[in-house]
Symmetry: C2
DNA sequence: ATTGGAATGTCAACAAAGCTGACGTATTAT
DNA sequence: ATAATACGTCAGCTTTGTTGACATTCCAAT
């Protein structure tokens, strides 16, 4: 290891470096949510609706309970969101076949249209960031984010990524 | 470039890869805020207080207007937070010397104590994530986050990082 | 067959933290 | 003098989270 590398290795865990990472996370998250937010505010929906729509699209036929575990909110909070989405015909709720207590959620045609619109906007910024940073940086980005997650959420994150690719 | 690298280069901008990055961001942000949140909920403060305290600590003697630009909220929203912090003796507000319309903000001893407590908790997780991911990954992490920011916020982010290192 | 517990839905009340709009008061700039 | 800026504050509203309570439906075990 050369001197420069040694320096880098000894520096990147310093308070100042870690603090800058925290701030980067804060500022980047604003960019992350901005484009979908702008689309949503023209409708009667918010970020909570986006999140529900995203994960229903991602795991079609997921149950309410599963969604609760992913989103980390109370059932009352999620229910309020789901109720409006179902009433507006964006989400469909079906009684489970094997276990009839469960409700399986999926997007309707209209729901899928909105999902695509939101998703396209959010991915566009993300893809441009990826492109400008390059594949090595992206790999590092993903590695650090995974390491930041709570273990149980990391498990869910991995499971979602593996399901249909 | 070998075949494996070519593959990687052509794959990392795919919808699926970008989507996984979006989800990683979502799950990681929860881990990011969790430790300070747990400290704050034992007090009468929330995430908004944490953000104010963080950036006042980071840029001592910053003005209200400057803080508004960084946090991206309305003055009414920030004022509600600052009022309680000042009333509780965590933040001090001084009339500006050159421009007496401005208020310059700084943490009191007690405010600095809380800031350290919150900061230590948040940095601990972040540092552990950095350590396990390694310096290359961390560099990539920072690069992608910067690319995700809105240009005006990126400028502020860079300026904050450069001020006293 | 009954019963305990799990999954779901819903009502009510509340809190945090964002927003708009309006207004007041210094202070500075033109 | 007048206009613009920086700040504070009041009032009211929205979104999204929270508890707590209670009903329904259904599975599974006794």
């Amino acid at each position: 290891m050369g001197e420069a590398q040694l320096d880098r290795a000894s520096q990147y865990l310093s308070d100042e470096q870690v603090r800058q990472g925290i701030e980067a996370m804060f500022f980047a998250y604003r960019g992350f949510t901005r484009d979908p937010d702008r689309i949503l505010e023209t409708m009667a929906y918010g970020r909570a609706h986006h999140r529900a729509i995203h994960f229903i699209a991602r795991s079609p036929s997921t149950t309410v309970n599963n969604l609760l575990g992913i989103l980390g909110v109370t059932k009352q909070s999620l229910n309020r969101v789901l109720r409006t989405l179902i009433a507006d015909g964006l989400v469909e709720s079906r009684v489970g076949e094997s276990d009839k207590r469960e409700r399986h959620l999926r997007l309707t045609e209209e729901g899928a249209r909105l999902e695509r619109q939101l998703s396209d906007a959010q991915r566009a910024r993300m893809r441009e960031a990826y492109r400008s940073a390059g594949p090595e940086a992206v790999a590092g980005f993903r590695t650090v984010l995974e390491a930041m997650m709570e273990p149980d959420l990391r498990r869910k994150y991995v499971a979602i990524g593996e399901q249909d690719p």
